[in-house]
Structures are given as structure tokens and as C-alpha cells.
Point group: C2
Chain length 254, copies 2
Amino acid sequence: MRGEPRRGRYDSDLMTPDEESLVWTRPAPARRLPQTRESIVAAAVRLADAEGLAAVTVRRLAEELDARPMSIYSYARVESKDELLDLMIDEVCGDMLVEDLPEDWRPALRAIAERTRAALLAHPWWIELIGRNVLLGPHGTRYREQSLAAVRTLDADEPARQAAIVTVQTFVVGQIAFALDEQGAAAAGGRHPEAAIRQYHRQLLATGDFPLLAGAGPAEPTTADDRDRYFAQGLEWLLAGISSAQSPGGRPVQ
Amino acid sequence: MRGEPRRGRYDSDLMTPDEESLVWTRPAPARRLPQTRESIVAAAVRLADAEGLAAVTVRRLAEELDARPMSIYSYARVESKDELLDLMIDEVCGDMLVEDLPEDWRPALRAIAERTRAALLAHPWWIELIGRNVLLGPHGTRYREQSLAAVRTLDADEPARQAAIVTVQTFVVGQIAFALDEQGAAAAGGRHPEAAIRQYHRQLLATGDFPLLAGAGPAEPTTADDRDRYFAQGLEWLLAGISSAQSPGGRPVQ
DNA sequence: ACCTGAACACCGTTCAAGT
DNA sequence: ACCTGAACACCGTTCAAGT
């Protein structure tokens, strides 16, 4: 399959006269198909998912794709690593889109919140990139359109509808941010040894300055289950609050 | 005032025979008082506030304090730059503490939310550091105690009280995150030229795939006023929702 | 024109040498 | 013991040279 009849000793420009090994004993001709932008962005996202944003360096990415560092720029046709990050951001925005958005604002907002949460949990590094106009790209734009569609049936004035969108987005991002914070860099290499944290915590409580924390017992780390519950609970509170903005129910709370 | 009688030509070990300038024409003897941990952390926070987290490098910080890079580690008694960031994080947590926390859960949570928001707007880089156990330090611990104190009067079961805390924290962080995102790196150097964004946006809308965005008119950038309103509105919705968790009013929404 | 090796100006941190 | 200069192994990116 792999082995083709060898035609001559030096007919390949990959072979030099002093090269003694037989062609088929060496790895495939390194036919580096030039990577596409998509394949590079996908590789970068995979890398970030697996090892965190810090692992995404131009050199490392090149290694991953069996290319030279500077080729990343050429192949993906980006002018800087920043632009590559922009592409990664928008890729994840694509994961935040809900397939069949319900008509009603309440299930629609709930669906968006849950879909967004799932995407962010799958790509936690996305949060770290906030502050870079994360909803600017094509998928991000579609996401904004989706949010507008979700609140169409919310019977409130335009500012209230906009506030509802922002509030829900905001809530999701905040939830994930704190969830990631609590599990800490624990996943990302365990910056602080668990034992050290516990001992320090005991030491602080021993001062007597934190009666309520002390009363709460030995700070159990929040479980994934807890976080699911907090998310569901908070979201329902939010939706309940927003529904009070409905015109029939009265003026927006203020 | 500055000039003191010159006592001799070489009596200072800062002066060498070939040094021709007069003592008082040169800057003060560079009496580098060894910096304290506090002064170093304060300088780092100032630097981050003024030029962003990226500007906080060991070398730059040393320059700022007229010290050698490696002295930062000695003076602040930190083992890595990561630990310095931990100190910076906790410093900001100190700014999130409310002086006189109201008794009632509702004004208490509102006060915490507003105080937290003010601190985060003053130190926007804090958000980027989430994921590092931001509430682990002494001030962070006090902040957690404060949150527990705030919900004491909330007549709901423990999980609901915890959810209320998480939800409010979460909301604030999310709000700031999106606010920073919208103003983008605009402040931080303007990654994307305003004109380019507008043109790209027009181009996307021209596809007809975004009827609601198109109908909303030329995407006005959100003003600080808008953000204040969204924050206030969202917070009230949230508090209204939480109040539905009060035992007399019925079981927590679900 | 497209691709890329070498080099540049950074970074955090190690380490051995200073005092 | 405390402090620090030089060096190391990185980083993103420039640039000139290759094809």
C-alpha cells in the first residue's frame, strides 16, 4: 500500500546522495498538506480544552500539526495569535446556538442559558477571553440574534427586553466563572495543595472572626451536583423576576 | 533644602574617583528602602489598574519600584509570580467588603452586589484571574463570611440561602465581564478599530440572516448608563425572584 | 507568492556567586 | 542569611532569505 516502486536513488529532492536509508524505512514523505484555517482553529480549541489556554502557543500548535511555527500564520491566514484567539472564541459561540428555539420567552431563555452553560463547561477557557468582544464574530452575531428572538414574546418595553438578555447571559457567565473558580486551578494542575488550603482555613476560623463560616462546618467543596442545583435555582429566580416585568403583571420592578 | 555641605570627594561609596558630577546634581542616594510586601502588592495593583494585567511583569514591577527583578521575590517574600497575583486578588477582595451591612437580606445583598461591582469596575483585571480560588485569602474569606451574614434573615432552607449567595455573586461577576467585553479591549489599546467593526457588522446584516439585529437599528454601543440600568434592573429581578423562596411565600420556585 | 529559519525582544525562574 | 547578575528555556513576532 505504502511502498511504491523505488524509481531511482536521488530522484526525490528529499533524498541526498549521502542518505543511506531506504525510502520505506523512513516516515511517509511528510506530505504536509497545508492545513486549513478550520483545521488549525479546531486543533487550537482541542489543545485549549485538553491543557488550558496557556498550552496554546504558536510553537506548540505547530508541533501538534507537524508544521513550523511561522506556518501557522500563513496557513490560518491570521496576522497574529490574537486573531487566532478570536477565531477560537467564535468557534465556541457556534456551540452556544440552540437548534429549535422555543417561541415563548421563558423556555427560550432557559434553553439559551442551558446551551450556553454546556458550551462553556466544555470550553472553560472561553471565560478567560472575555473582554475581547467575544460576540463579534459570525457565530457570536448569530448568538445575539438568537437572544433577540428569545425575548420577542416578552411583553415589556425594549430596554426591559434588552436587560433580560443581558441579565441571563451575565448570569450564565458568572455561574461558570465561579464554578471554575471553586474547583480552582485544581484541575489545571492544582496550584494549591488541598491539605494546605484546609489547614489555612482551619487557622482562619480559629481566630473566631468568622462565626458563620465556622458554624457552617468544615467547608465542603461544592460538588458538581450543587452547582447544577445553584444554576437551576438561580435561573428560575431570574426568570420569575423577569416575568414580573411583563406588562399585564405590572410595570417592571424597580 | 536639598543641598548639604559636601564633606569630601570620595567619602561616599557611590562615588568613584572618576565621578566628576557634584553630589547634589545627582538623584538621591538611591537609598532603596527594601520594599514591603504591601508596597509591592500596592504597586502591582496600581500597575494593573493603569495598564492592564499584561503590564504586570516582574521586570516592569521592579523598574517601577527601582529595584532589581529578583528582589521582588525576596522583598515580597513570594515564591512565584502566581503568589503575587494571589496577593493582588485578595487585596481587591478587601475593597468588596461593605462597611455596615444591613440586617435585612434584601438590602444586604443589594449592598454587597453594588460594592462588589464598584470594586470590580475599579480593578477590571480581577475578572481575568477568576479560576484561581479568588475567595481563598483573608479578605476573600471575610467576603464569604459577609455573604453568609447577608442571608441570615432570608427565611429559606440552607441550600436556598447558599444558592442566593452564589446567584448574586455570579450575577455581578457576569455583568462586569460582559460590560468589559462590550467596551472591549477598546480601552486596552483598541484591538479592533471601531470603523472596521461597524463595516463588518453592516456586511453581516446585509446577508439578511439577522432580521432582528437589523431591525434594532445601527448597533449603538452600550453606554455606561445603559449598563448601570441593566445592572440595577437585573439585580432587582434577582432579588424579587429570591424573595419568592421565602418560606411564608411558598416553596422555592422550581 | 508563499513559506520558513534565524534572530530579536521579551517573559518567569534557576542558580551560583556575591555581600 | 539575604540579595542579585547572568543564564536558561520559554514566548510572539520580524525579517530576510529561500523556493
